[in-house]
Amino acid sequence: METTAGTAAAPTHRRRRRPGLTTPGLLGLPVSWLIVFFVVPIAIVAAYSVDVFVLFPGPHSFTFSAWHSFFSKGIYFPLFFKSVEMSLTVSAVVVVVAYPLAYYLALSGTRRKYVLLLVLIAPFLTSYLLRVLAWKVILGDNGVINTFLFSTGLRAHGHPLSFLLYSRFAVMLVLGYVWLPFVALPIFVTLESLDRGLLEAASDLYASRRQAFLRVTLPLSLPGVVAAFLFVFIPTVGEFVTPSLVGGANGYMYGSQIVDLFEQGFPDWETGAVLSLFLLGVISVLTLVFVRFLRAGEARTA
């Protein structure tokens, strides 16, 4: 018995060692990448926020003065909340718009679903800048929409819908347009991988289509929905390119402020770094909350 046990244990030991070497080998490159291009840059920004690094040469010492000023004056909070509100609105609306689209593509059984998917992502074949600028032609005071309204008599000449461009609305519309495929794709993937047997089972148990959707499809597709929501929310809350192109004075966002602090007027890298890290912190917390919510939902479903 002992001999048998001894000989049986040796190969097991060897098998245990192999994954020990493989895992770091596989993870080494991506982890190094993350450290060099994510952790280190954030550490540098953090160092600027507390004056360990400074742009201007001269004596400097560790201080939380920029952080203190940020929290005590609260000048940037209204802008931050405005950006969060805009971003949440865009994310929610786009998810609502994209879900039926992804649902149709994944579950309708159409043989052309991959062709339609290609059509959905086709705008990505053109440049981001070009797509955003095209909206100016559509939304301007003499753009496509206003010209149509003038020609149909729905608006009097000389009285265009000026909120269409250089406004919050314009920023949210363009962001929604730009990010729509990013929302549709994760939802599509989730729905595509859905076990159809569950839907058949629901049907066998006399669930209506609505009940099957609400109690089977929707809960099981929530991971994709949350991922899609985060895909939009995280980048758009710090967005600055789109606001600078179509936002005008009213569509100015928190991300625009960060960029301007770094290089407009007079460089203020300390405050810019504080604003950047605050944004990163808030997004991290929100992401964790979403993930927790998602896991709780999964547990309930299980």
């Binding site: 209204p78 802008l79 003499n142 250089y166 004075a249 009213n250 100015y252 402020q257 407009q264 007079f266």
Partner: protein, 368 residues
């Protein structure tokens, strides 16, 4: 101290020969010898000349301004880095960029000199220097040394469509006129605090007291709703103005040149006076291409370059011999008036001692 690179390398005789050669005269020591000396000194400097300049003044349309330099120094062609504004240039330089020369506008001269980032030029190495507007040359001096070589100049004033807009007065107040709410474009720069100060009669708009600054900032915040666009790049302004989304704008002369191709426009000099600016080439301290930088600026300072700039960009040029083809531009820029950039015609832009504070106030206006 800043002149050391030049003093150290050249004897007085060399300097005379070099100056003569650069001017194309070469009669002091004979044409051949002078030219040889100049070439010898220039050939000691190697590599491509590093220039930090604004978009439109590099290899992206501004080639005519420095064509003579490229022709003479094909092995030391300029290599450009873009600066989006002086603040951006300052950040780039402190972050490790090493241009040989760059081109801020006159309001920043004192700051850059006092920061120790720049050294004075030797005007004797710039043959066209004697043709430059003395008033602008003076604006480039600090403590008797020539830190800035003036090049292009123009105004910050108001552009409006005369078929749509009927100002009550020739005033900066047009930028805050409620009648044109949603059709007005401001400029994304702390200069807006100065403009508010001018409009509200601050004693010194470039160095306002705390009360005046609060009043200027409150005023801008209160009036922000009339501004549809706060432009940072001219192309943004041209798109908005050209498509009819904007009728009134804080603008530069080139904007007037571009927009008058499409609309009947007026480039209004307000009664509070426009703000005049002069571009200044500045030489970075310790540059290894001291003479090449001078040669580059000399090319920029020529009558031919100046005329090209005026005709194509609608800005004035410091070379007094440069005159544009268009009499309308001549009149709009007051090019016949060598003192156009100074009072009683305009406020020449100047140092803002509280620049950082002004910048913070302006950022808060935008964030409001």
């Amino acid at each position: 101290m800043e002149g050391e690179p030049f003093d150290r390398r050249l004897s007085r005789a060399d300097m005379l020969r070099l100056a003569a050669a650069a001017a194309g005269v070469g009669v002091v020591a004979g044409p051949a010898a002078a030219a040889d000396a100049a070439r010898a000194r220039l050939s000691q400097e190697s590599g491509r000349l590093q220039v930090m300049d604004w978009a439109g003044y590099c290899n992206d349309g501004g080639q005519s301004m420095f064509a003579a330099y490229v022709h003479k120094h094909p092995n030391n062609k300029p290599q450009f880095t873009h600066m989006t504004n002086e603040s951006n240039a300052l950040a780039q330089i402190h972050a490790g960029a090493h241009p040989d020369l760059f081109r801020p506008y006159c309001g920043w001269n004192k700051y850059f000199v006092q920061s120790g980032l720049v050294q004075p030029w030797n005007p004797k190495l710039i043959s066209n220097f004697k043709h430059l507007n003395p008033s602008m040359v003076k604006a480039g001096q600090y403590n008797g040394k020539q830190y800035g070589i003036p090049d292009d100049w123009g105004f910050d004033a108001i552009l409006y469509r005369k078929d749509k807009v009927h100002p009550k007065a020739k005033s900066w107040g047009l930028l805050f006129d409620e009648r044109y709410k949603g059709k007005i474009a401001w400029f994304d720069d702390l200069e807006m605090i100065t403009v508010a100060g001018l409009y509200l009669h601050a004693k010194n708009p470039w160095n306002q007291t705390s009360e005046e600054l609060k009043r200027s900032q409150d005023f801008l915040m209160k009036k922000k709703h009339v501004a549809r666009l706060i432009w940072a790049s001219e192309t943004d302004l041209w798109q908005a103005f050209g498509s009819g989304d904007i009728w009134v704008a804080y603008a530069w002369p080139n904007d007037w040149v571009q927009m008058k191709k499409k609309f009947p426009v007026v480039y209004m000099h307000p009664k509070e006076k426009p703000i005049a600016w002069v571009g200044m080439f500045m030489l970075l301290s310790g540059t290894p291409r001291f003479h090449l930088a001078h040669a580059y600026v000399d090319a920029w300072s020529s009558k031919k370059s100046g005329r090209w700039l005026e005709n194509n960009y609608g800005y004035g040029h410091a070379n007094l011999e440069a005159k544009p083809s268009s009499s309308a531009l001549l009149k709009a820029l007051q090019l016949s008036n060598p003192k156009a950039v100074r009072m009683p015609y305009a406020h020449l832009d100047r140092d803002i001692p509280q620049r950082q504070h002004y910048a913070q106030l302006w950022e808060q206006v935008k964030a409001s």
